[in-house]
């Protein structure tokens, strides 16, 4: 048996509920015992468009939260932005719809063994998986501070129930329509200077992740980021979702963000080489 994709299972899964949350859709999907293998950071790959669809590739979505003991058994929550044809199709699937899902996939956020002080940084709906992570960190006794940012307030995803697991939450919008004006990365240098942040967990656009890395590089702060590159398969066979990563041997390798990610150590990603030929 291979270690790659070792928990991944291809199942037919039912949509338990689908409701609109601001600009996003919250889907709860029944996945039974597989929920026990899902960790914050993992993602799923879902077929879209039905059997006669002209969309031949799966769509990847971060698992925002799982429940192992809901009324419907094990479930997972996805927060989906209806951007393209595939995600729009998924957002139109109502209760009882059957989905072809591969779950769970990819790496997960590492959880500290000690109750340390952590900072969670989310951009847009990239914040979704951070709330499930916050619950886990909170249960470990960590102090959890959170910064969320977006271009505008309607793109902030911050559910009421999610806020319970965080000690503090600050919101930044570029158009000042919600929270404070500015970028979510603006306050990070001050936060690091004022408190003993051991780990920054981040999820959002690549530019945000890169900006966080430029702040944490050379410091003791560990930066665990969930990266995003477009992928065709989600299981490591298509080689499209690669990013340049510094290897222990000193060479740079194009690693697949589906099996070596999405959660990666930000300090080894060669951010200025993303999207360039090596």
């Amino acid at each position: 048996m291979s270690l790659i994709n070792k928990n991944a299972t291809n199942v037919r899964a039912l949509v338990v509920s689908n409701k609109r949350v601001g600009q996003y859709f919250q889907l709860i999907i029944s996945i039974g015992d597989l929920a026990e293998n899902c960790k914050p950071g993992n993602f799923v790959a879902i077929n879209v468009g039905g059997d006669s669809s002209r969309m031949v590739l799966r769509r990847a979505f971060a698992i925002s939260r799982v429940s192992t003991n809901s009324l419907n058994g094990g479930t997972m929550e996805l927060i989906v932005a209806p951007h393209g044809q595939g995600s729009k199709w998924l957002c139109n699937q109502g209760e009882g719809a059957e989905l072809d899902v591969i779950v769970p996939l990819g790496t997960a956020f590492g959880i500290p063994t000690e109750p340390v002080h952590v900072l969670l940084v989310g951009g847009g709906y990239g914040s979704a998986p951070l709330f499930g992570l916050a619950e886990l960190l909170n249960a470990k006794g960590c102090r959890v501070d959170m910064l969320l940012g977006a271009s505008t307030g309607s793109k902030i995803y911050a559910p009421m129930e999610g806020k319970r697991a965080v000690n503090s939450l600050r919101i930044y919008t570029e158009d000042s329509s919600m929270g404070q004006g500015g970028r979510v990365t603006d306050p990070i240098p001050q936060v690091i200077a004022d408190s003993e942040i051991a780990v920054i967990y981040s999820c959002g656009p690549m530019a945000m992740l890169s900006a966080i890395d430029s702040i944490t590089r050379g410091t003791d702060v560990v930066h665990q980021c969930a990266v995003e590159e477009s992928m065709a398969c989600g299981i490591g066979i298509c080689m499209t979702c690669v990013i340049p990563v510094m290897q222990p041997e000193g060479n740079i390798a194009m690693l697949r963000t589906c099996i070596d990610g999405p959660v990666m150590d930000g300090s080894v990603v060669e951010w200025d080489k993303v999207g360039k030929a090596l």
């Binding site: 398969c233 490591g236 690669v242």
Partner: protein, 312 residues
């Protein structure tokens, strides 16, 4: 189900089933092994391996298109030494039958690769990929040039000797595919792999520039299947004695049977595995049922059936 001989041959290599992974669509095999038993399919065609490690083209490397996708990987891989040390033993361990795909930037590189593979046991055949569209210089697509194609195959043939079957992988992006096919068969190819991806492009309307990092990419998926069926049919008509491994958008057992009827001895599944990691198994099962339901007792009787006159 009545007895069906599902086996096939490519040159002197025998396979229990006519269904294979497509080059570049199964990575090292480890990734798919979570979903399918690699020994239960006809064989694994590896990614095209080069002499040195190669990082490939910049991202974005992928664009979905109607019933297909463009890819622009650029032959990313670990290089032949690492491949022989790590990937081949894994596939042998899985009891997979192995077709090693090789790619080079020069005629000499193909010969070097053949020399390094000559001593490796457990390989059923070598696919010589002379048609990858994702190289910097389109002049490097040997399969667009009859003389260059012949030279590559001749070099590999001389190096490898007569034992291992050579499968030449050709591009559909040529004016006269049959003449290219004849050239490589004359130079010593035992079989042909048809077709590689079709060169394409998508413009990103946000940036108003080509979407892919490599600008152009290879189109695959059901969108190109009729092109592949046509290519297989034309080449089989010209050279019915040369076995063809067919690929290009095969997603169902029916698609596979179309290829076989057009003249294919085997079928590779690529893009379909991206959408469904079990695709090869499903295609294999459906193909078996189709053959039996049509009264065939042997896969071989169906190969090239579409070329028979109406009266038969």
């Amino acid at each position: 189900m009545s007895a069906l001989d599902f086996s096939t041959t490519l040159g002197n290599a025998w396979f229990p089933a006519p269904t294979f992974t497509a080059s570049g669509c199964a990575s090292s095999g480890r990734e798919l092994a979570q979903f399918i038993d690699l020994s239960s399919i006809g064989g694994v065609v590896t990614k095209s391996i080069m002499n040195k490690a190669r990082s490939g083209r910049p991202t974005p490397r992928m664009a979905e298109t109607p019933s297909g996708m463009l890819n622009s990987i650029g032959l990313q891989g670990p290089g032949i030494e690492s491949f022989i040390a790590k990937d081949i033993p894994y596939l042998i361990d899985q009891k997979a039958r192995i077709i090693v795909s090789i790619a080079g930037e020069t005629v000499e590189e193909y010969s070097v690769l053949a020399r390094k593979l000559r001593a490796v046991s457990g390989i059923s055949a070598i696919e010589v990929n002379i048609s990858c569209p994702n190289v910097e210089n389109r002049g490097l697509v040997f399969a667009c040039d009859p003389e260059a194609s012949r030279k590559v195959i001749d070099g590999v043939r001389r190096t490898i000797g007569g034992e291992l079957p050579i499968i030449a992988k050709l591009s559909p992006d040529v004016t006269d595919l049959v003449s290219i096919a004849r050239g490589v068969v004359d130079a010593g190819a035992d079989a042909l792999a048809l077709i590689n991806t079709v060169l394409g492009m998508v413009i990103n309307l946000d940036t108003m520039r080509p979407h892919l990092g490599g600008k152009t990419g290879g189109l695959s998926g059901p969108a190109i299947r009729p092109i592949a069926v046509r290519a297989v049919y034309q080449v089989h008509a010209a050279m019915p004695q040369v076995p063809i491994l067919a690929m290009g958008g095969v997603s169902t057992g029916r698609d596979a049977l179309e290829m076989i009827a057009a003249g294919a001895s085997g079928v590779s599944i690529g893009t379909a595995s991206f959408g469904n990691p079990h695709a090869i198994i499903a295609i294999q099962d459906e193909l078996k049922h189709l053959l039996v339901s049509k009264g065939f007792t042997s896969l071989r009787d169906a190969i090239g059936f579409a070329h028979r006159p109406e009266s038969e």
